[in-house]
Symmetry: C5
Subunit: 344 residues, 5 copies
């Protein structure tokens, strides 16, 4: 609040004890990997000969480190700020000396049915990639593996392809999240149709909120990747753009799926509400039916409970039994009538 | 997950035992048809003299075959991946050496009231068309017939027109699906208005979900065909574009119809809910009415069931019969009153 | 289904026994009118000297005739197909040798409260206009009259103005349809507020569906006319475009009106549902009230119907009458209380 | 219906007995005002020396006059038609020899809570402005006053600025209408929260309809003024466009306000429905509660009203009083229980 | 109403007793601060040597002062009008001699749960910035502090950066407002799920209205800043535009958040209504259940309260006790049945 724009301030709450920098340098034939743990170490020789330098910072609270790295590689203050601004919305920005992309890594906690977001920032220019993740656990392990295989396509390409591959790895995981959510939706759907439990209400509301979280993370990413695919920037090769366009299609598909889940959830909620009210009314109807059956019978009993001196029926020998018979017949007739009307 | 982009991995679940390639080569005067069942066979002489080569792969799980074909005709790895990626969204993509289109063949199972999707991939460049279908049953039989007629327009035109004709054959079938769904909607509508059954609820929800499936298949196709119609690519002739524009109009019309079905289904759901609640309240009203009729009468009987020593009416000779008469009149009066109020 | 695109197949169901062609040729000074009933007759001398030739086909099932005319005036196969494809959506298409427009003539059957659609196709190029209507009854009589007046503006202008005038005649009739629907909506509205009838439900649903029909006919027409107004085609004069722009404004206004009717119908439905449920609850409340009044009184009567030996009140001389008085007072008090609470 | 486009036909229903033309001619230093009441009078010397001629016609049914004026100043037939076509939608149109704008003057009748529309047409070209209003009462009095002040900005500017000023005067009045509607909405809102009356239902529906009327008048005006602000027409000075842009901002703001009123009305309706159903259920609950209290007590009384020979309690000396005590305690206990549950 | 456009009229209602002008002049090395309280004082030497002159007017009702300042610095009359027109919508406008931006400073009163708006106007050109706030309390204190620090980036930049920094300070505060509203929403959400109170209804309606206020302030600002970021005006440096683009991203994110809050509030309202109706029905069900239990028992008692002479059971020695037993068993059986059905 009230700070100069470009002030690097950490706004998240998940911290890593020891911020480490995972460093990889590769080209088609060579590969160097290092883990750096102090500021001074990270000024390494820049990459020559079509090499790519990738610095991956794990943990975002070490503002000083980001500042140091930012100054060293002359990164714009606004980018430095965005690197640690964990509530930043996914975005694609072109600066004079590089391209900057932020996005959210998502995961779904199936037990709590909660979507977790992790802020990821990627900056790259010619032969240089700088990334930051919130936690020590690596979101990019699949990319790292592909780099370690000498014949992988990634080894023959530049920083733009690496940046693409990193985003692709995260977007790929969205499919997993969507599948897990679909499982939850289907289980809710099944429960609703088969059981008489009323416990689903807040669950539906909760799931709808989680879908909003998802949409807030994915919708701006779609725009960001669209701009990535259309950029005229010379840092992005045409051969890489084919892949980014493909990635864009994936985000559109994911977004469509999220929207259709929201439609389904809205439908489920309507179904649920009408179902609950239907079942409850059904119960009320049954209860009211009991009254409707016994009240006329009670009236009959009331008649013969009167104390008039001259009530001939009372003196009939089988009057009582005849009345009981009448009541029984009436009772049966009402039941049959109700059953015919399908109220019972 | 975590694989390099362009990795050809089968993601569907419908498999064909024996993947066959149906091969057709034709021009205005000549026609060759073959069925190939091993990899080696499919390297045939390319088409000369304005001939068109059409390879139609039935079954998608044979990743190796796709790879082999892809390498043979130098198809981009991303296209190879998309050929077998059955959950891919309909799309139109231009690559350096060809145009790639994916779409969904739809069919409607009227007994289960379920929409089935089949993934279809079409790649074409100058004189060469490669298609893939999920199952052995042929989606393109109508096109095949037209090719076999020597004087058909299709025989005089190139690969772009064939690609168009294949898509057109699938889109044409959407009209059938829509009609079948319309029948279901109308039967649901009629049932709702004429019967007292309450079974429609989950059916409406189900139909709305199927319409979502439809929309997810058709909406991106509309965009894809729009891009097909507007492409500047020299692989697509101007004379073919007239047809593609016409096809575009069809997809727009289909999409409009799907949207109006969704509107109708929403209206039906509202109607259903209000109808159900109306009927149920009607029943409750009738039951409550029974109570409202008998409770005052029971009160009267209760009065004369009291044991006060001095109750003159009890000693009247015809007291009992007078009371019975009064009750009967009251009963009739209440009924008349209720009927006048249209509650009965 | 499965036919080659451009195959001329009649898809409608309203047929005319004898397909006639109404032929008009005019310029500022001359006018020729003929009715042709065989194929051969329709090859007439083309119009010279700024004359306009208008062929108006009444009836669409005579595919052969359409084919013959199409070949004669070298009309594109896709247009021939669209001429008889009665479920075609309104559209504007430019071909090499002419402009093709389809639209729907609408009429409202006030007794059945149903919107009827008639397919109309218009093709024109320099000095030549070809139209087709589904029935023998003439949709263009007003235009025909204007042509028959020698000093009308239409006589001095070309085929483009005639095409415009024909569309304008049909769009003008939409206003009539809208007014008739508005009358129906207002009568429904009034009925709902003044009467206690519950019959309006399916009527509202029905009207909403008819509005969907309207929207499906008008919304694409709006786009089509917008493209007509903006076309760069030299077949359309700038002086005619002023009129087409005006026509476009009309379609926008009509579309707006349809949308506002849909809003009103949705509002009416909400009002109706809440009104019905309100009235029904009001009845339930009244019935429940009867129980609530008599049950305490019945309890009192029950007390003095008990057979305890020692119940002093039973022996009081006026005990019975005192109790009756108490009951009456209680009854009145409850009624007053309910009336104060505005429940009665 | 069925008339040639450009036919000048009056379609409104509000008429003025005597159509007058108010004529003003001014420049920075001179001012002439006249009221003309016959056709011949209105051919006045055209304005020279940067003068502006403004003809303001009050009343629209004198089609002949419009025709006469139209011919005199060579106005396009379509404009002549639109001048008297009172149901025309707000629009901005550029013709060869001038610019034509139609809009709606709005007023709100607070007693009937009804929005009244008046059709206004403005045509201008270099130094000439022609306007038409439906009634004799002047919508432009504020502009007239500003013109009469010699030092006002309007005197130094041309016909385009006058046209702008006239529209601005009408749009300014929209704010008054909005404020009056806001007052009504707030009074409805307050009534709903504080009173138990159920009379608000049709009122909300009515207000929503009036807001639709407003939207239909303002939404196309916004577009029209946007086109006015962006026109390349040399009849509109750049210095005037600054003002038109400002006017555009006002219409956007007004439109936003109308939309937010619609949102509020929808919210109010939901609130109202739930409020009504809540109150009604509350009453039902209370009534049902009375039954629930007395039915168990009546059962107890029924027990001791039985005629078994051997019922020891009946012979206890204080049996009756003990039972009365038990009933009283039970009654109190039930009441306390209900009150604890907050049902009472 | 009815005034000439550009008339400077104060339309707000919050006034400051003494309108003061806070004046700051700075460049990278020098800084002058003054508070001016009379009109004459504010004609200061314009800034030379890359200095920036910032006049900050606190209070808007002193129309004369605005007029005076406007004339002195030759500001367009429309801008002068907008400076004091507090109900103006956020906007970005380019004039010949400067750029004009209006926006709303927002704050949230957590006790009343009300959003307060303050009108802010910013005009700048080369080296000159004029701002106006409604109250004496400074919205720009954070910017003022940064200016007072000699090494801040702001000191080295021009008027465009200052304008940006001022807007940024206000937009930054929107995040605080959003957080406070989120707290309220969450507390409402929790209350609804945990308590049985029905007090939330008007609260939800109220919050939805406040979110509309927010949206009306932020949505046009987003557009305004988008135009700021894209302006070709030479008054805005490219190096500043990077920051404005960043600011634009923030407004998009804020707007997204507001929209998702609206979604959540709508969901909460649905949840609330269904929750209330569910709880109320639950109560009704319980009450009806009491009737359903006791009415059959009362019927039994009624039977044995009849006065038939021949009712054998009455003479059984333990008849009474047997019946009591039967009733107890029946009572228990019904309760068990209801509990099994989960109605109790």
């Amino acid at each position: 609040m009230g700070l100069a724009p470009g002030s690097v301030v950490f706004t998240g709450n998940r911290k890593v004890d020891n911020v480490l920098i995972h460093y990889v340098q590769y080209n088609a034939t060579q590969l160097v990997e290092k883990v750096l743990d102090s500021h001074e170490q990270c000024i390494l020789d820049p990459a020559h000969d079509h090499k790519v330098d990738w610095y991956d910072i794990r943990g975002m609270h070490d503002v000083e480190l980001i500042n140091f790295v930012g100054e060293t590689f002359s990164i714009h203050p606004l980018i430095q700020e965005a690197f640690v601004h964990t509530s930043q919305r996914p975005n694609f920005d072109e600066f004079e000396n590089g391209i900057f992309i932020t996005l959210k890594a998502l995961s779904f906690d199936t037990s709590e049915r909660k979507v977790h977001k992790e802020h990821v920032a990627i900056f790259f220019n010619n032969g240089f990639v700088l990334t930051a993740q919130e936690t020590e656990s690596d979101l990019f392990s699949s990319v790292r593996e592909r780099i370690s295989l000498e014949k992988g396509r990634i080894r023959k390409r530049g920083a733009d392809y690496l940046a693409y591959a990193l985003i692709d790895a995260i977007v790929d995981h969205y499919y997993v999240v969507l599948e897990e959510i679909e499982d939850v939706i289907e289980s809710v759907e099944e429960q609703m149709i088969t059981t008489q439990e009323y416990s689903g209400k807040s669950e539906i509301h909760h799931l709808k909120k989680e879908l909003l979280v998802l949409r807030k993370a994915i919708s701006p990413l779609r725009e960001a990747i669209s701009r990535f695919a259309k950029t005229e920037n010379e840092l992005v090769n045409d051969s890489s753009k084919v892949y980014v366009r493909d990635l864009y299609e994936h985000t559109v598909q994911i977004m469509d799926t999220v929207e259709s889940y929201r439609d389904i959830m809205n439908g489920l909620q309507d179904l649920f509400i009408s179902e609950v009210s239907f079942k409850m009314n059904k119960v009320m109807q049954l209860l009211t039916l009991i009254s409707a059956v016994f009240i006329p019978l009670t009236f009959l009993a009331g008649i013969y409970g009167m104390n008039f001196q001259n009530m001939p029926e009372l003196n009939y020998k089988y009057g009582y039994f005849i009345l009981l018979g009448v009541m029984l017949i009436l009772f049966a007739a009402i039941l049959v009538f109700f059953r015919r009307k399908k109220w019972l």
